[in-house]
């Protein structure tokens, strides 16, 4: 009672499940042709043409220090829109949209060690699964300040 329920888009990187607030997701796309942009950080894969708009795309694996893998039919680009900045993140696959109670989300400290805490808002326990909630603003914070 009294706690807020929010919808989250759940996606996978390797065996781990991640989630992001659905209100910040514009659309989920299959893999599109990506044009590399030189002189950008390694995790910026390049830009795509999303129906006439040029959108930068981030390799989430690289961003989270996880080795890149071959793209396949399941690979998706999630287009995020935060503070009027649009960008895409490449994920291994997108599984579902679920409702998570705010109370289910625990602070990340002590639970995860292998990825940079900065990009994580918290971890939600859904049944036996642990879902890492990504902070999509933080993911691009280094670029915005340039």
């Amino acid at each position: 009672m009294g706690t807020e329920k929010k919808q989250y888009v759940i996606f996978r990187i390797g065996n781990d499940e991640y989630g992001t607030d659905i209100n910040k997701v514009t659309i989920i796309e299959r893999l599109l042709t990506i044009t590399r942009v030189p002189k950008t950080p390694p995790y910026i894969k390049g830009v795509i043409n999303l129906r006439g708009d040029i959108i930068p795309v981030m390799e989430l694996r690289t961003r989270l220090d996880i080795p890149e893998i071959e793209k396949d039919d399941d690979t998706r680009i999630i287009i995020i829109d935060v503070n009027k900045i649009s960008y895409g993140i490449i994920v291994d696959s997108v599984s579902e949209v679920i409702e998570i109670d705010e109370a289910q989300i625990e602070s990340p400290s002590g639970i995860i060690n292998d990825i940079s805490m900065d990009y994580v808002n918290g971890v939600a326990k859904c049944g036996t699964n642990l879902i890492t909630i990504l902070n999509v603003e933080k993911l691009i914070s280094e670029l915005v300040t340039i």
Binding site: T33, T35, R36, V37, P38, K39, T40, I44, G46, V47, I48, N49, G52, D53, I54, I55, P56, K84, I85, S86, Y87, I140, L143, V144, I146
Partner: protein, 681 residues
């Protein structure tokens, strides 16, 4: 009626009027005897007053009213055009601009009253009032004569036609009245008041005649009173009551015309009859003065105000269309027939013309930016006791609206530098053997796909040696390396942000203050700045900016397996070289283009693309690009072809990326990056 809806128009028009006033006032200052300019100023000020009055901006209206008083005095020769008067008029304009600015931002004019200005204006106009011999001057001969007000006679002259109409009216037992209406002398919008009065009269009667004629009243060509003859079934008392309820009406006199009284009526001549018949017919046909006014407006206005946003939408649509056209063009030949090719060709023609047309709509003469400079230079020269002549040319050069909005500030900076630090004082100039009056030239012209704006002065220029010394002192270059630098390269240092903040430089050259800001701004527009200076002879700043920011012709090239676009406007020529043609000068690869040595830039290297080893006889494609007067050769793998491309931004996230000016969408839907020649070279 919602005032808000008109606010934008009011602000736009006010700005235009103020600009006009500024320009005219400058002319008047130079040529005080120019009555046509003076009349123009008076006219514009009057319009401004009217507009402010309608919108209920009373402070603004009051200020313009005072201003008008002075202008009227100038017109009549009771006040002389002195620097003092012109100065205070300029102050008025500034104050009015502040009001408009306030209105634009807050929808209200604010509360500042500019007491000192109004008091001073009053002082001036009081002087003239005391010199005025006979009472209020008559506005125009026809409208000025006051009708006789003795009880028996008629105020208006009637002809046989009017008499017939009245007789008819009496037969139908209607009343005829002659109504004299006097407005308050403080009424700002006489025509508007008169319009209201006419509307009241028209709902209850038929207006047969008026003096002055309706057209003159609409144009405010009357003093404070007018007389109408109407036919109505209402009584005299009714009209007295109705008309007195209108505000700013000082006096209403209604006189009933009876059958008796018209018997002895003196009729005016036939000429008049015809004319007034015409008037009457015209008036009836138009029914209300309002339609008459709108009709006039229709003829005079051939322009439409369009919000820039709407043009942007149109521009985007045209861009999309061009992308689709390119796509059709790229469809493989298997599907193509002759018909198809022809249709695509036609489509191409239409889209190209359409693009041109839309671009033209967005084009604005640079005049709107240049306009403010004469005033600015005048103010600076007054302040610094210098004599400066501003010579402008090419004001009609057109630029994209988006560029116009951005170019103003950098230009202000450059001109201010020239006036403030470039031009010497008259004494200094005389001692140098120059004319005491300094000159600043402001020129704009087209050069290919660019617009060039030059600011030149014949002031003291830049002391290269002192700049060299400064570079050494600040440790930017070593003693050794600085000797290898040309004067042009030395001057480039003035555009460095860290360099320009130094006060010392400001003292010796006057340049450098904010030049980096100028450079950043111009480069953000896809342009570049160049500074040429001759010590003691003057300097010249050359700003080059692209005509349009949205759609350009570009050459598509392959580097590795990536496609890049190079703006055609910066390409000088393309030729093939072999590795043998490349030599090294101070660790820099160079080649010989006819007689000139040009540096070679390998795009593979700067774009982090793996390149194959140069084979002995491998043909290298060298795209020679130009930045200002400087040429450089870019090595690419192959050329794809020339194409019209739509420039898209990389978005906020990647906006700062080096070497890349933007992106474009190719016919196959993929993205190609546009190289930023200015930062590569």
């Amino acid at each position: 009626m919602k005032i808000n809806q008109y606010l934008d128009i009011f602000v736009e028009e006010s700005k235009e009027h103020l600009q006009e006033l500024n320009t005219s006032l400058l002319i008047l200052e130079k040529d005080p005897a120019n009555t046509s300019v003076l009349n123009e100023i008076f006219r514009v000020a009057h319009t401004l007053k009217g507009m402010a009055g309608i919108m209920g901006f009373n402070l603004m209206a009051t200020l313009t009213h005072h201003m008008e008083d002075v202008l009227d005095g100038l017109r009549k020769g009771q006040v002389k055009v002195t620097t003092e008067v012109v100065d205070v008029l300029f102050q008025c304009l500034d104050a009015l601009e502040d009001y408009v600015e306030n209105i634009m931002q807050t929808n209200s004019e604010g509360e500042k009253e500019y007491k000192e200005i109004t008091e001073f204006l009053e002082q001036i106009s009081n002087i003239r009032k005391s010199t005025e011999v006979s009472g209020k001057p008559q506005i125009s001969k026809a409208a000025g004569q006051k009708p006789n007000i003795d009880g028996e006679g008629f105020r208006l002259n009637y002809n046989i036609y009017d008499k017939n109409v009245m007789e008819k009216a009496f037969e139908e037992s209607l009343n005829a009245f002659e109504i004299y209406i006097e407005l308050d002398k403080r009424c700002l919008l006489k025509a508007a008041r008169a319009f209201i009065i006419f509307q009241i009269l028209e709902t209850h009667s038929e207006i047969m005649k008026s003096f002055p004629v309706v057209e003159d009243i609409e144009d405010e060509k009357f003093d404070y009173y007018f007389t109408v003859m109407i036919i109505s079934k209402e009584s005299a008392e009714f009209f007295i009551k109705e008309l007195n309820s209108v505000s700013e009406v000082r006096d209403v006199q209604v006189k009933q015309i009876t059958e008796e009284s018209i018997k002895g009526m003196v009729l005016s001549s036939d000429d008049d009859t015809n004319q007034s018949k015409e008037n009457n017919i015209k008036h009836k046909a138009n029914k209300t003065p309002k339609t008459d006014a709108t009709e006039k407006k229709k003829i005079s206005s051939k322009t439409v105000r369009v919000e820039i946003d709407r043009l942007d939408v149109l521009m985007n649509l045209v861009s999309e269309l061009i992308i689709i056209k390119t796509r059709l063009d790229d469809i493989t030949t298997d599907y193509r027939s002759k018909d198809y090719d022809q249709t695509v060709e036609n489509l191409e023609r239409v889209t190209t013309s359409m693009h041109d047309a839309v671009m033209k709509v967005r084009m604005v003469p640079i005049e709107s930016v240049f306009n403010r400079f004469p005033r600015m230079v005048r103010d600076i020269s007054k302040e610094l006791n210098k004599e400066i002549n501003l010579n402008m040319s090419g004001e009609d050069t057109e630029l994209d609206r988006t560029v116009i909005d951005e170019i103003g500030d950098p230009l202000i900076h450059i001109i201010r530098n020239s006036a403030d630090h470039g031009i010497e004082t008259p004494e200094e100039r005389i001692s140098k053997g120059k004319e005491p009056t300094g000159n600043i030239w402001l020129r704009a012209f087209h050069d290919g796909n660019n617009v060039v704006i030059e600011v030149e002065d014949d002031g003291k220029g830049i002391d290269i040696n002192r700049v060299r010394k400064k570079i050494l002192d600040s440790g930017f270059e070593s003693e050794e390396s600085i000797n290898g630098l040309s004067n042009e390269e030395i001057i480039q240092y003035l555009f460095e942000p860290s360099f320009s903040t130094s006060d010392k430089i400001t003292d010796i050259s006057g340049r450098g203050v904010g030049l980096d800001v100028v450079k950043t701004k111009i480069e953000a527009l896809g342009g570049n700045v160049e500074l040429i200076s001759n010590y003691d002879r003057g300097s010249r700043t050359i700003v080059r900016i692209p005509l349009t920011l949205a759609i350009i012709q570009a050459l598509l090239v392959m580097v590795g397996d990536e496609k890049y676009a190079i703006p055609l406007s910066s390409i000088f020529e393309i030729y093939n070289i072999t590795p043998k043609d490349i030599q090294f000068v101070r660790n820099q690869e160079v080649t010989l283009l006819r007689d000139t040595v040009i540096p070679i830039i390998r795009l593979h290297n700067i774009l982090d693309i793996e390149a194959e080893e140069d084979m002995e006889n491998k043909q290298l494609t060298c795209v020679v690009v130009r930045k200002g007067d400087k040429l450089s050769g870019l090595i690419v793998d192959s050329l794809i072809g020339q194409q019209e491309i739509v420039i898209k931004s990389l978005g906020k996230l990647l906006a700062g990326v080096r070497f890349i000016a933007g992106a474009t969408i190719l016919g196959d839907g993929n993205v190609a990056l546009i190289l930023d020649i200015n930062s590569i070279v």
